[in-house]
Amino acid sequence: MSQVALTARASTTRPRRRSRSGATWGSPTTYVIATVLIAVCVAPVLYIIIGGFRTNAQITVNPSGWPDPWVLKNYADVLASPLFWQQFGNSVISAAATTIGTVALALMASFVIARYDFAGRNALYSLFAAGLMFPLTVAITPLYLLIKNLGLTDNLLGIILPQIAFALPTTVIILVPFLAAIPKELEEAAAIDGASKIGFFFRMVLPLSLPGVITTGILAFVNAWNSYMLPLFILNNAAMYTLPLGVQSFSSEHSVDTAAVLAFTSLSMIPALLFFSIFERRIVGGLTGAVKG
């Protein structure tokens, strides 16, 4: 898929870019820099993944060595552990529910901000924009008390609801320009054809804002998948842990079993990595719209 996209892109943009990059900017230099850059970015991740294929003895004797021989036991042990799958499932539920909730609520609110004329419209936008100033770090202590009073500690709902709330500001800010950019004529045409504003929302707005929805959805998913501070406060029972907490408790419990820690860690990062690499192009596309405002 990426190969097809790559060639398609190359054929459309080549003439312009070539004239833009002077003859002095030779490809070899570019590739050397790019290779070094990638090596730096990827090496620590590879250390984790490859380290999981070694034994503790190998790691102790030769910390920076290659697996010799490659052992699958660490990964097999993690994959056979019910706790890993339990925490994996918790992460999936938390991330999926957060993503759906965030996108649905933000899309509805952005639709109101972008397409309705009413007195509080700017105030509503400012409210969400101001949310960028209210980060989780500041709210976490009282938020924990609030969740405790609601009886939602050790409950995935106790992290999903705040995650949605904290994802709303960025999501709304990215989505509003998308919805505002839908031509007025489409809305009028829909009205003439008898569609209500709500009908317009479902028939036209949803499909047309899909790029923005996908971008914000991925960001919400990845952030929820990686969320650490909130689960740290809210979830105390290992069976309710999401994977980041699981990784941390596993690595402190098995601090001598480095190989197992590396295997557990690398298995827990795969879903977010897959999700992101499939949709990477969409993210840059979605942000382009937002940056241009």
């Binding site: 996209a5 312009r16 870019r17 002077g22 002095t24 900017w25 490809s27 570019t30 790019a34 730096v40 990827v42 991740v45 250390y47 984790i48 910390p63 920076s64 609110a109 901000i113 397409r115 009413f118 700017n122 509503l124 101001a130 949310g131 960028l132 209210f134 980060p135 989780l136 770090t137 500041v138 976490i140 202590t141 009282p142 008390l145 705040p162 949605i164 709303l168 800010i173 509003v176 505002a180 007025k184 009205a191 504003k197 998948w225 990686n226 650490y228 501070m229 980041p244 941390q248 590396l262 990062m269 977010a272 992101f276 990477e280 192009r281 993210i283 840059v284 937002a290 940056v291 405002g293």
Partner: protein, 336 residues
């Protein structure tokens, strides 16, 4: 994102669409349409507003309230102590150290990541084979969680770990050091890890900003015979200004709130002796872990106020340039 952060993007026409028909209709119909509109607004925006107020805004105000009490978190707070918590915070050397670390991280993040991110984005904005793959790989550190980054790096940077071993094998053994525990080195280790983790996000933003620059400008410059570097210097950089300033804004806020990486790598107790504690790790350690919820909330308020003052100052003096043209329009819209 720059304009949209500070001001609501406008539709081309603000006259209500779909209500042209309603104008000709009888009065009762119009009133009914008005009610219908209000109902739709409430249904559509209500849930988002409710959840946002309940879980974002309300807790911050509660923090301000709890911060005036000496309180262990059980029952209602009764032991009102006024500003004593705040006095304690600002006389505690541990907090002042943490604040200094946050300041250092803030400045160094801008200095280390900004130029590098622009350079990498320039590199990746070219039409080179394999660009998609390079872009995905560069974003890998950004996508994996802080816990994984922290766990992986701390194993790698142990004194008996992979990095020191690698340095020995390369004959650079004299460079080996106790990357995490040595107070002279630890904060630089943290800076390297932070830069590694977050530069992908900066590059995404810069790339998005570069793709928003109209092609015509590049074509015109090329026709005028400008070299690649001249084009980047006089077209890309100035037009990328708004994106860079928004990125810097997000980076500043992130530096002030830094928690996860430090807490995971250095734990709650080692951070202060290694010289990497931040205001947020101080807050969790002295608040939640010590059971002093009143005090923890007061620290949260301090973090919030410091962040807010820096953010508003930045918006006033730096981001204002990006909305200078729309300033008059902005002031009567009161969209901040």
């Amino acid at each position: 994102m720059s304009e949209s952060v500070t001001a609501l993007p406008q539709r081309s026409s603000r006259s209500g669409s779909g209500r042209g028909a309603a104008k000709a209709a009888p009065r009762s119909d119009r009133a009914r349409a008005d009610w219908r509109k209000r109902f739709e607004i409430a249904i559509l925006a209500g849930p988002a507003i409710a959840i946002f107020l309940a879980f974002v805004i309300f807790p911050v105000f509660m923090a301000a309230y709890y911060g005036f009490f000496k309180w262990k978190g059980f029952g209602a707070p009764t032991n009102f102590v006024g500003f004593q918590n705040y006095v304690t915070i600002f006389t505690d050397q541990n907090f002042l150290d943490a604040l200094a670390h946050n300041g250092f991280i803030l400045v160094m993040s801008l200095v280390m990541q900004g130029p590098a991110a622009v350079a990498f984005a320039l590199l990746l904005n070219q039409n080179i084979r394999g660009r998609s793959l390079i872009r995905v790989l560069i974003f890998v550190p950004y996508v994996i969680s802080e816990v994984i980054v922290g766990t992986g790096w701390s194993l790698m940077l142990q004194y008996q770990g992979a990095l020191n071993d690698l340095l020995h094998n390369l004959g650079l053994g004299f460079l080996a050091s106790d990357w995490i525990a040595d107070p002279n080195v630890a904060i630089w280790t943290l800076m390297v890890i932070i830069s590694w983790k977050y530069i992908g996000f900066a590059v995404i933003l810069m790339l998005a900003g570069m793709q928003g620059i109209p092609d015509e400008l590049y074509e015109a410059a090329a026709i005028d015979g400008a070299s690649y570097w001249q084009i980047q210097r006089w077209i890309t950089l100035p037009l990328l200004g708004p994106t860079i300033r928004v990125w810097a804004f997000l980076s500043i806020i992130g530096s002030l709130q830094l928690f996860d990486l430090v807490y995971i790598i250095w734990g709650q107790y080692v951070a202060s002796t290694a010289g990497t504690s931040t205001m947020a790790t101080y807050m969790v350690r002295e608040g939640r872990l010590a059971g002093n919820y009143g005090y923890g909330n007061a620290v949260a308020v301090v973090i919030f106020v410091i962040s807010l003052v820096i953010a508003l100052t930045y918006q006033r003096f730096v981001l204002r340039r990006d909305t200078a043209g729309a300033l008059t329009e902005k002031s009567d819209r009161k969209a901040a």
